[in-house]
Amino acid sequence: MSTAAANKDYDLDGESRDQSKDFLTIIIAEQRFGIPVLQVQDVLGEQIVTNIPLAPSEVAGSLNLRGRVVTAIDVRRRLGIDPSKDGEATGMSVVVEHENELYSLIIDRVGDVLTLKDDMFENNPPTLDAIWREISGGIFRLEEELLVVLDVPKLLSTIHS
């Protein structure tokens, strides 16, 4: 209880003092991405996905999450990355809400939740791949690697049938 409360305090303070945000990190094809943690509704293991005929290729299908229909998005395909090889992906997905609908973003793996300070943030390099530029909300310089902020609304709203 006390830890939770302390955490909460820390978060609130952190928010106002250090201008930092929490991100759930995900890994796709060895690249680390971050989704603002407040946007994440759920993290799921591998699910049975029903194919949707005639749907855009990025749409992997739909699945049942506790009685709600969730549309599964193949993020690899959306990013123009080749399908995963054996053992590379766990079939995990991150559930987000977009315009009152639930989407599950199928990614390779889920990493930790990181609290990232705003001074580690950079805008997209102008030379970034066009597709990535579209869905990237910017880059965080981590010590060992770079983290691409996944702009979820943009990622979803740019899918068309």
């Binding site: 949707i52 749907a55 855009p56 049942n64 049938s161």
Partner: protein, 935 residues
Amino acid sequence: MDDLIGEFLTETNEFLESLDQDLLGLEQDPNDKELLGNIFRLVHTIKGTCGFLGLPRLETVAHRAENVLGRFRDGDLEVTPEYVSLIFESLDVIKFIVGSLEETGSEPEGRDDALIAKLDAVFEGEDAPPPIAPPPIEEEKLKKTEEEESIPGMATEAELEAAFAAAEVLPLDQQDSIPNKEVQAEPPAAEEQKTEAVKKDTPMTTQTLRVSVDVLEDLMTMVSEMVLTRNQLLQILRAHTESDFTAPLQRLNHVVSELQEGVMKTRMQPIGNAWSKLPRIIRDLSIELGKKIDLEMRGQDTELDRQVLELIKDPLTHMVRNSGDHGIEVPADRVAAGKPETGKVLLHAFHEGGHIIIEISDDGKGLPLDKIKAKIISNGLATEAELKEMSSQQIQQYIFHAGLSTAEKVTSVSGRGVGMDVVRTNIEKIGGSIELKSTEGKGSTFTIKIPLTLAIVSALIVESAGQRFAIPQLSVRELVMTSEHGDNKIEMIKGTPVFRLRDRLLPLVSLDELLKLQRDDVPISEHLESIDVQEPELGAEESQKSAEAENHSESDDAAQKQPLQNQYVIVTETGAYDFGIIVDRVYDTEEIVVKPVPTILRDIDLFSGNTILGDGSVIMILDPNGVARVAGEIDSAEADDSAIEDAAHIGSSQQKTSLLLFSIGGTTPKAVPLSLVARLENVKISDIEHSSGQMMVQYRGSLMPLIPFDSSVKMNDVEEKPVLVFSDQDRSMGLIVDEIIDITEEHIDVQLSSTQQGLLGSAIINEKATDVVDVMHFLNTTHDNWFKNDGDESYGSAGGGKKRLLLVDDSPFFRNMLAPILGIAGYEVTTLDNAKTALKMCEDGAQFDVIVSDIEMPEMDGFEFAEKVKADSSWQNTPMIALTSHATPEDMDRGVQVGFTKHIAKFDKDTLLTALSHTLIEQQKAAQQEQGEQA
């Protein structure tokens, strides 16, 4: 119930408080009439409400107190402290009873005889002048009332208790037993009902209460989810035949079903609610148009889900307005036609087999077939020949066509059709259908069929290529199992599957083709449980044999392409037409809760929603109307599909071109746009003359050069040869071919891979690979630049020098067809395949004298292109001519609006050339004038 008593108690407590104050005031000033009136009214209200709620003890006390107060008011009893005390005593008793009501929910046992006796004594006038007639009568009345009410009152008490014991269930039960249930009825209405009902029924059963719509919606959602969960449980139960859960689950099943029904009922509203505005609309219309119209409404009480009601409100209003506006004639015309002066619009609603049927009929002039036909043709929706083969009913259906109605709107030609496409779309959106019957001169009847509710629908679960889909039961008329041999077989007409259903031919669509499902993607495991070929009972367990057969075909590539041996045809009913959907397997019907399709899938017409099945899997719900729409286009689209997958597509499937098909030595058929052919002639071989190595024939008083299509054309063994005559101005040439095959109208997709001279490429025409002929090649080879030797003064060279022309058209076929024509006519032609590149050229500073642009183009269409050019660019003053394959008046208008000088049909070469030259000449004149003015 709970709420009502609660409200009464709150109200009464307030009254009692103010009554105390008022009585004290009255005691001090016995002559205050206003105060007395107020007291009388409050007590009277308490008495009235008690009667309504069935509280006899409270009512009796209040009633007697009121009697006394009545005498005060009438002035025949003096307000003395004694009497006021008596009233206070009554109020105390009332307070006691109310308090008890608050605590236990029912009136306390016991009687207030002593008090009543005192009150009666005062009322009957101990101290007052002896009453003559009224009191006994009143007394009698009172007794009577008491007798009447005391018995139902007891029952009420019992019921009340039962009600509080099962507070949540009772309202529904009551709803069931009341003929006039009105969930949202206003209290006054309820009170009225009550007074009527008191005499014949117990007061309790007529009770209604107000519930907010949100609560009902939430309730419905929860019930929907409950139904789903119930379905899941039942599914699980099926796997365990011997289970302790069987009995309780079955009970649950029943309860849930009843609950669902009950909640559904709470959402029902009489359709009359949606009709309430109609009489006014018709009245206004008849005044405005000088018509006499009677609106008759039948079946206002027919109930349907309020959600559905909301959705059909507008379409209904629209249709009734249409009936009055376009259907009913003015009185003079009606009399002339031998009809009564007053026209009649009839609205009739009734239940039929789980649907609501709403008929809107009028005895007006009916649909004008000729006008519709003319519209159909002018809008390019069908050709005259096609119309000839249609029944008048089929033609009438066109009023639901978007193209037709829009055009009507623009030109405001009278006749039905304004917005009927919207009406149909709205009705189809809620899973309904609309039919039309009309006799010219007699009137029209529209029949709308809609489901009772939208939230939960019964759907048939089918499988195709290993995937399951739901089809709403509403549109399923019957199921047929087909077999490869025997009567029930699927037959093919030109690759289109059809089925003989009794005495009719039913068009079929294959679900897997429609949805582009890949059979080889199907996991074996899925297939093992699919297809029950032997068992006629739907959804029965599959035989091992069929599973093996299926496996076999799975492994055999060639067999995969073959239609499965036994398939099911779902005979489907839609507004547009009936058709069959071919599926591999039919499962059960299941109650499903329709969930909307996610936004990113909205563009797919074929699905109306998705749902979660009993086994927890998500499946898509097919929209039969969407299927009908897509399937109706598939015949033409199929040619596109199979022909060319690469970039060399001819624009959209909209572009139909009349083609002349001919053959040379029995090889691939050749096609040439009919509009380029001036005439077809049979030329006698003996008439052919030779001059300087060129074949000639005397034709219409001059010499016409002839060339054989190629060297394989045999000239020796026949007397006559067919010749295609191409002409331009007064020059002609003939192309000798072997045989004229046909004239056809087709969507052409040209594959520009032909290297052979004289051919543009090949296309699939009438399902055959066909070479499309490059007419210009022949024109040019007859004579070097034969066509442009002279006579083109008025065209491209008008004003001296070659005019620079920009041709923008996405289809290579037209570019290749037009560029040479324009080139020959003396223009310097630049072709581009899209408007964006054109705009870029403009930015780069390219200059043209005239721009010819296609309208239907991907990304940026001709209109947008013109708007951009005219808005702000260096081409602002360059005249623009629009090319289109189907020009509706609306398009023309829009074209002019955005700045096109002319609108010209594709292939209308002569008009194009004339228009070009006119445009340029005018442009030049204008320019000269301007120069002159400046000078």
